[in-house]
């Protein structure tokens, strides 16, 4: 009996030794193969397209991130769900922010190209005169262009007669755009979206945009630094891929914009935006309308950064390159014209 238990003990010891050897040697054989087949969080186009199952999982990953992003907009509107075509709040806010920047940089007198493209985002005369960002935001919500088709139609568009009238009188809804809640509430959803899909550009941009706004009222004194830190992480996670157009212009624009407007770090702005502009020029034909919009904004900020550094030649060069791609870009044209005049003014006295 004792002999039997000895044998059992030896066998268990053998199992333990075997496990230890395998655990010790495991990384040597596992890692070289794991590196080849490991499913990365960031999609790898060439590798992913090879497998139908991976593609299905990628689809799920993208959808989850989109759901989180959509959820963040729900939080921003105090739980009111907007239909997809109505939900361009961030877009409108960023455009308003851009418009303000252009005004501050002296290009605001020209027609705003993005406003021409998107009537919804076109600032009203009142908002364009306004100097307060809040004012712009408030007007966006009040202006008729910003109103959308509601689930319960207004009287003029309602075929239901008295039923529609009763529903409107009871008012279990609002026909106007819901007021925004504090951006902090949406941030966790956006962070979750970027955690699930580190390539979710809109979530990174939205998160940085709303995060830097939390500095208002002293709620978060480090808001800008945190936003920059996040975008730097996003930049590291989304490097340009070979043989693919760089479709993360928004990330770099927002990062450069924060360095320019909030940190006044012009050299850093150029360091961020120059590569984006170069890639944008190379890939311009392959970029969609949204990416082109971001690129046009990057051109404007790069021009301003060079101008602030006193490098007028480079600023004019960037502006001219931008105009080649965006011939109707008013702020760029105005900036170039003014810089040319400025250069002429500088040359004239020395010519005398």
């Amino acid at each position: 009996m004792k002999n039997q238990s000895d044998i059992t003990r030896r066998r268990w010891a053998l199992v333990a030794v075997g496990l230890l050897i395998l655990a010790g040697a495991g990384p040597l054989v596992v890692e070289p193969m794991a590196q080849n087949i490991r499913l990365t969080r960031t999609p790898k186009f060439e590798r992913d397209r090879a497998s139908a199952i991976v593609q299905a999982f990628r689809g799920l990953q993208m959808s989850l991130a989109d759901i989180c992003y959509a959820k963040s907009t729900e939080y921003q509107h105090s739980g009111i769900i907007y239909r997809a075509p109505c939900e361009e709040t961030l877009d409108a806010d960023i455009r308003a922010d851009r418009h303000q920047t252009d005004e501050a940089l002296g290009g605001g007198t020209s027609p705003h190209p993005s406003a021409e493209k998107s009537p919804r985002a076109a600032p009203t005369p009142a908002s364009s005169k306004s100097t307060s960002r809040d004012h712009v935001e408030r007007h966006q919500h009040e202006e008729p262009d910003h109103e959308h088709n509601t689930m319960i139609p207004p009287k003029e568009a309602d075929f239901r007669g008295i039923i529609g009238h009763v529903e409107r009188e009871v008012k279990p809804f609002s026909l106007t755009h819901a007021a925004h809640s504090k951006p902090e509430e949406a941030l966790p959803w956006l962070r979750l979206a970027t955690w699930i899909n580190p390539e979710h550009e809109m979530s990174w941009v939205a998160m940085a945009f709303w995060l830097q706004r939390t500095r208002k009222g002293g709620r978060n004194p480090r808001a800008v630094e945190q936003a920059i830190e996040l975008l730097e992480r996003a930049r590291a996670l989304n490097p340009p891929q070979e043989n693919q157009p760089f479709a993360k212009q928004g990330l770099l624009y927002m990062l450069g914009h924060l360095y320019l407007m909030e940190k006044k770090d012009y050299a850093k702005t150029i360091e961020v935006l120059e590569p984006a502009i170069k890639r944008g020029e190379a890939d311009f034909a392959k970029l969609d309308a949204v990416q082109r919009d971001w690129l046009s904004f990057s051109f404007r900020d790069a021009v301003e950064a060079y101008r602030s550094l006193g490098q007028l030649d480079k600023a004019m060069d960037v502006a001219a390159r931008g105009i080649v791609l965006f011939p109707d870009d008013g702020p760029l044209r105005t900036a170039l014209r003014r810089m040319k005049n400025q250069a002429k003014g500088a040359v004239k006295p020395s010519g005398k």
Binding site: I21, G24, G26, L28, V30, M33, I37, A50, A52
Partner: protein, 256 residues
């Protein structure tokens, strides 16, 4: 050859079971869908790629499921039906009994895998770039993976109920690679010596995910280094042996 006799009997019995019909139905559905799609989109490389990929996944998954389900049932069923008593009354040790059962369950998985892959190769042109040698390596590694997972199934069948065993083994087989990565990511974020030690300790659990290189077959033209394949096969065989040895130890102590 008592081991082979047990294996042969178990194998033939497995063929009579409805699980094999499920496999045949799956094969039929795959063949039907593949033929319809190939007729509808003749020569479309994307359709071929998707069909090939689905075929590989189905074959890998069905082989693993069949092996584990069979392995989980063998010993508990023999005990429940009382057929284990006349078996062990013969000149057959418990270790030989387990080895025979393992061999049969593994072979069922291997035959399933090969049959499915044969059908895939007959129906669908492989996507380009494609390496025949890499395909062979994929099949070899998968065969090794099936041995390890079957042995784990046999081991757990002596410790936990059948349904739990199937859930645990298949859950582990399909998800451990993902879970391991998440844990390692969390540990790397926390940093420190303890985290590194825990990360290292996690290698005690077998990495059967690295024996599934179907994705490489679909995207890579060059075969993997044969030394690495050999290393991985030894790794899989090592875990199969350890699991079977642990199963023997448990079974020797088991009161029937």
């Amino acid at each position: 050859m008592p081991v082979w006799l047990v294996a042969q009997t178990t194998f033939l019995e497995a063929l009579r079971r409805k699980d094999v019909y499920v496999l045949l139905i799956l094969l039929g559905i795959y063949a039907l869908v593949a033929t319809a799609l190939l007729e509808g989109y003749p020569g479309d490389p994307d359709v071929q790629r998707v069909l090939f990929s689905i075929g590989l996944t189905f074959s890998f998954a069905s082989a693993a499921i069949l092996s584990v389900v069979l392995a989980a049932r063998q010993v508990p069923k023999e005990i429940a039906q009382g057929t284990i008593l006349p078996l062990l009354a013969r000149p057959l040790t418990r270790a030989q009994f387990l080895a025979g059962k393992f061999l049969a369950c593994w072979l069922v998985g291997v035959v399933t895998l090969w049959l499915f892959l044969l059908l895939v190769r007959l129906l669908v042109s492989p996507p380009q770039p494609f390496s025949e040698w890499l395909f062979v390596q994929t099949v070899i590694l998968k065969t090794g993976g099936l041995a390890a997972v079957t042995a784990i199934g046999i081991l757990l069948s002596l410790a936990v109920p059948e349904t739990l065993n199937i859930t645990l083994t298949l859950g582990y087989y399909f998800l451990w690679g993902l879970i391991f990565n998440i844990i390692q990511y969390g540990l790397s974020q926390s940093g420190g010596l303890v985290a590194r030690a825990v990360g290292r300790l996690l290698y005690v659990f077998p990495h059967l995910d690295v024996l599934n290189v179907g994705r490489l077959t679909l995207s890579q033209a060059a075969p993997v280094d044969w030394a690495l394949v050999a290393g991985l096969m030894i790794y899989a065989a090592g875990y199969a042996a350890v699991a079977l040895l642990a199963a023997c130890n448990l079974f020797e102590k088991r009161w029937i």
